[in-house]
Symmetry: C2
């Protein structure tokens, strides 16, 4: 919508620590359970639950079992933020 | 997030025909079933389904039974768009 993307992603295992210096990021859990680690805490989200990770805040998503998550953020945001590495996904690939 | 709001609303009955001249609008159904009428068609969304109503497109949400919907749009958008009337809600009321 407008210049924002809604991306349905699957999470299993541990993602990398990263932050997005220029944007907040919304996680809405569709199915399963998602944990998001912060440097000083961890939250767990179940189906229908959401959170906003403020811009610049380091976080590491993880899920013991595969879960489905709807990500909302501006078009073109890199999934690994300022970290890069092997988990960086190509952007704007439409399926 | 950023300058966008995620608003959880309940819909029952028929809303008013309206459009938003300056923004797209996202509907994500959390529970129940939502119909959105357009001038030439109607769609039905169930739990976990979403749609984007493009800016300027007239639409009328309705639900036979109460349903819960997550609306995503820029902060300050008036719920009845360019129509106004008795169903217009105060904005930026935090609960």
């Amino acid at each position: 919508m407008n210049d924002y993307q809604f991306r349905l992603v699957k999470v299993q295992g541990e993602f990398t620590w990263h932050s997005h210096p220029d944007t907040d990021e919304v996680f809405i859990v569709i199915s399963g359970y998602l944990q998001i680690e912060f440097r000083d805490s961890v939250i767990s989200l179940g189906p229908g639950e959401m959170t906003v990770v403020p811009k610049g805040v380091e976080h590491k998503p993880r899920a013991e079992q595969e879960c489905e998550v709807l990500l909302v953020e501006p078009r073109g945001v890199v999934n690994t933020g300022d970290t890069g590495g092997g988990l960086t996904a190509e952007n704007d690939i439409w399926i």
